[in-house]
Symmetry: C2
Subunit: 660 residues, 2 copies
């Protein structure tokens, strides 16, 4: 009996990627509407069908389209923005500030179009995304004709598209309701990662995903630091913690899993979760080597993803497939690990399963959607072809194949690329618009990079504040008289504290930038025990506001921020010209004198060895107030036995730096 | 003063890759004859020159051509032949047998042409090669117009182009004499590796290279096994050993250096040796992660190579550059390691220095040869472009650039590719001829793969031999009477031995293949000490030649070979359907009886537990001789107290396999 079909593809090397890994050469595929009607040897398929259109595949490989299992497509617009940086510097220093400034529905639309063009060119028919304004990603992807699982991001911080977690969860619900049932788009919710979400967010997103039976797409154990922090804070690795929050009530797609153990793998397996392995991103950000072969052995559906193009820096799945095979071999010290055939499986059938789209796509089988590509394997770089072994063909695709070998792409029965010509997108226009964004971002960052202040502000957080200080400082030969005087005089002591202070001052080539001080305050109790450590970042302006009588200084402008990151982070981010260390032991009294509050610091400066100093400081907000306080500080110096002729207006960093 | 120049390239982003890493945008390069006359900002260069021809580079990147620091170009014809195998199985099981059968001057010429076409297409202007018939590589490369260091291979084994080391050394001398001074080809000598050369070869090749002041190109410490063997045999790592042999009297190009320590790096540095790092090959063959960042820190000239296309499987330097950066980051747990700019340096200036061609090529500087490429960085996959940082451009090339972005290639002042069209090679013809070779190799290997015997022979070595045996075997309840009888009867004992024998029999789906036995003989002395171990491989034919009186068996055809490789090797190479283990304790006497020699074996079969057997064996060469000996063996059984009604004609493997 002959069936009528819309389209017949013949004269191809058909790689079905079905469970039995059938190959047909010459093979044919019959398509009706959005679906595959038949796959098999050419003569059998031809005999059984009457086709409205026929396409001679010219001996090319006809295979399922590739599945990019984890990405952030709009980030094409940030590719190459900042590279060779540590994850924290890269994210907090560059990506997040730029996203705060530029990410909008328009940005997301253009970035998605650019990505779709690249994805189609490289043979991808389906991808899993996670970003902001995900409705724009969904809409644009559907227009471009690609299949995608689109995850609306939920975070505990404000995002470019939501001021609070509640807003973003409500938006996710609306998004899912709107797109559920679309032929190309599977809506999903994306709690970003455990460390950017609260347990409440994890639970709420899992319930939302379960309610609508849509995937939940999240990052799991990308870096060792993340796992170590989890262990420290919760006494368990990441997967059990997520299980405890009910995350696996949903159909989970877990990106990365670079650092999970066998127990966690089994938990993922029992939860029916899919994994997205991202070799380029893991290598480029030095996140580590994911235990891919082990995950496959255990039976997990491990797909392959590019991650966002800002950390890759492209969307080339051919490169990822090759890398997945390469890295697994060396890490397991076994060149037979993750052979080419398995790598192709991961990028097709297993990837589709990881996205919970197994019944829909990922292999060429009757009943599945017609998501397929043609790959020319006769290129110079892929010549000659050996045919001794059925696996030779996968070897050709994986070890010598290039994304540019893809000539034709069909999704859901519709051609998106034909003879290397895109049919749904205008590349030339996209490139022009993208370049305009890059120009604006360059201007924004170049302005910022010229100013340490702007870079400090760009790190975000609301703790920065301006401060003016009146201060006077005298060198002491002996601290004993001061200690005695402070008890005996009529000074009202409000608080007394004891610190070890470790300061690193960053200096910059342009002295107008001032100094950036990274301070670790170790708080010391009466028994000389350290009771706590506090990190603080202070930008000290370069210019003095004025000097008063007896070298009282109306100090520089200062911006304070809690030092949430490590010294290493600030070093890499601010790139100082040099560093000056100042360590001291400080006794600090907050006192009231003539109805004003003052700080009295008795310092022993140990690095460099500068000896003892007495310092009186007071916050001030106007020049007049400052003048009044300047008189008081001089009086206090005298009261405490300091010699006013020994006053110094330099900061310790200036003395340490040789200005003394 | 205006100079006359042959060619002016303008309107380019010029990346000089000189010591100061000058960039000019828009920049220009003036070429006269084979050399660069000027490089600089477009207006300056234009002002100073009057050009016969001008080329508008259309805003593309103009940079030095890439240097592929280690490859075996003719192996393009073997790409994809066999993958996902261990190095020994891959080499001994596939590559070497195929090379023995197919490598000829014609093969080398075609393979080199195919490689040159691919190298030009991917932006390579210079490469370091090592293969057989290297004069054909040199001649073909010169015709194609590329620059190369061509190393004639010297090995202790017979090679496709020489029957002995002396022949191949003489050929190397002739080769060097012939090519020395050629504008494109630098002849070199290539002792393959320490483990394939004798100390004498290492010394002789170093002296030859020093005599002519040409490079010596060799493999150093590619695998951990190689280093471990060296330590075991010579008590030192590889580099000191090579130093001891005088290897560094020559200008060395050391490929791989995957497993060298800091001391070895310093030795290489002081010897002025260059290093070729091969990331794809090291990953694909699971050789390990080379300590690249450390070598660079120490100051070594580390270039990047693809290795041969049979272990890569292509010649794509863009992929290697990216991988070099990627892998160094994750291995050193530091994403700032080996930044993009360094990766590009390695592929250009450092690579040229590693090849001892630093003064000639590797950067765009006045006086150097005009070896340059144009790269289009406006592709979809490389959009948008950020310009905030001077290093952004290297990031684009490394992390998102593709070999197919190269549009034009010039070597020695001559265009080899223009607007992606090859000017010196005919790709279509090359592909046809290459496919014809692949077809022949497929036929050869498919025939071989059908026969365990052929696969055994393909491993090479001359030890295989056919053997016929007369044998009779009886089961014993108690071995004591035999031990007593052998001393007391008139049997002339020539030799007595004691072994523990550990046998693994491979069985195959097709019983006609027989069994392949891997035997480890542990020799035991009078004090029950193991004095030596010997491995032996025996192919036991499936069919019996005939049975005689009293179940005397004229045995199967057997092929013997020393088991030079591990059980693991043979398992992966022969892919048996199943394995049967037989362990036994054997007392063996070589005796003379009636003027014939016989072996008497008294066996205690321990795995499986079969008990005691007495076996009499004798080699035979004709049926008549066999019949006479069959009578003698029956007599011997009786003499030694065996019961002739207990004779068995099965081999132990048959009993163990359940045939009893």
């Amino acid at each position: 009996m002959t069936k009528s079909v819309d389209l017949l593809l013949f004269n191809a090397i058909v790689l079905t990627m079905d469970e039995e890994m059938h190959q047909y050469e010459p093979g044919a595929v019959a398509v009706s509407g959005d679906s595959i009607l038949a796959v098999g040897p050419e003569d059998e398929v031809l005999k059984g069908c009457h086709a409205a259109h026929e396409v001679d595949c010219g001996g090319k490989v006809l295979m399922p389209g590739l599945v990019n299992a984890h990405t952030h497509v709009p980030m094409t617009l940030l590719r190459g923005l900042a590279d060779d940086l540590r994850l924290d510097v890269w994210l907090q220093g560059y990506i997040w500030p730029v996203e705060r400034e530029f990410v909008s529905p328009d940005f997301v639309r253009l970035g998605t179009q650019l990505a779709c063009a690249e994805l189609i060119r490289t043979g991808v028919t389906c991808f899993a995304d996670m970003y902001y304004f995900e409705e724009k990603v969904a809409e644009t992807t559907a227009e471009a004709g690609l299949r995608a699982v689109c995850g609306q991001t939920v975070l505990k911080f404000p995002t470019p598209d939501a001021v609070s977690f509640e807003d973003s969860l409500a938006a996710a619900r609306e998004f899912i309701e709107h797109w559920k049932g679309h032929p190309l788009i599977t809506p999903a919710v994306s709690p970003h990662a455990y460390y950017t979400c609260t347990p409440e967010i994890l639970r709420a997103t899992a319930q939302l995903a379960a309610e609508f039976d849509v995937p939940l797409h999240t990052h799991i154990s990308e870096t060792l630091l993340e796992v170590e922090n989890m262990r420290r804070d919760n006494g368990m690795p990441v997967v059990p913690y997520l299980k405890k929050q009910g995350l696996f009530d949903a159909k989970v797609l877990a990106a990365h899993c670079t650092h999970i153990d066998e127990g966690e793998m089994r938990t993922l397996l029992h939860a029916g979760a899919g994994v997205a392995h991202n070799p380029s991103s893991n290598l480029k950000l030095a996140s580590g080597f994911a235990p891919v072969q082990k995950m496959l052995n255990i039976g997990l559906d491990v797909g392959i993803g590019t991650d966002g193009p800002a950390s890759n820096n492209d969307l080339d799945m051919f490169e990822e497939i090759r890398l997945a095979a390469f890295v697994a071999k060396t890490v397991s010290n076994d060149p037979t690990a993750l052979p080419a055939v398995t790598a192709v499986k991961m990028a097709t059938r297993l990837g589709a399963r990881a996205l919970h789209l197994g019944p829909v796509t990922g292999s060429l089988e009757a009943g599945k959607r017609a998501d397929l590509i043609l790959v020319d394997i006769t290129g110079l770089h892929n010549t000659p072809r050996f045919r001794r072994d059925a696996d030779n063909i996968y070897s050709q695709l994986v070890y010598a194949g290039k994304a540019s070998d893809v000539s034709d792409v069909m999704v859901n029965g519709k051609w998106l690329m034909h003879n290397r010509e895109l049919l749904t997108l205008n590349e030339k226009e996209l490139k022009l618009h993208a370049q305009e964004y890059a120009r604006k971002i360059d201007v924004f960052l170049m302005a910022r990079e010229q100013s340490v202040f702007s870079k400090l502000v760009a790190l975000g957080g609301s703790a920065e504040e301006e401060s003016f200080e009146v201060q006077v400082k005298v060198k002491l030969k002996d601290p004993a008289p001061v200690l005695k005087a402070i008890k005996n005089t009529a000074i009202d002591i409000l608080v007394k504290k004891h610190y070890h202070q470790h300061d690193i001052y960053f200096t910059f080539a342009d002295p107008e930038q001032g100094w950036l001080r990274y301070r670790e305050d170790e708080m010391v109790d009466d028994k000389e025990q350290i009771t706590g450590v506090r990190g603080r970042l202070t930008l000290i302006g370069p210019s003095r506001e004025g000097d008063f009588a007896h070298d009282v200084l109306l100090s520089r402008i200062r911006y304070f921020a809690p030092a949430a990151n490590s010294l290493r982070f600030y070093r890499e981010y601010f790139k100082p010209a040099s560093e000056i260390a100042v360590d001291k032991d400080r006794l600090r009294w907050l006192v009231r004198y003539k109805n004003e509050e003052f700080f009295i610091n008795l310092d022993r400066v140990e690095t460099p060895e500068l000896g003892y100093y007495l310092e009186i400081k007071s916050r001030t907000w106007s020049r007049r107030d400052a003048e009044e306080k300047a008189d008081c500080t001089s009086e206090l110096i005298s009261l405490l036995g300091g010699q006013l002729e020994n006053t110094i207006t330099l900061d310790y960093v200036e003395i340490a730096g040789g200005k003394d």
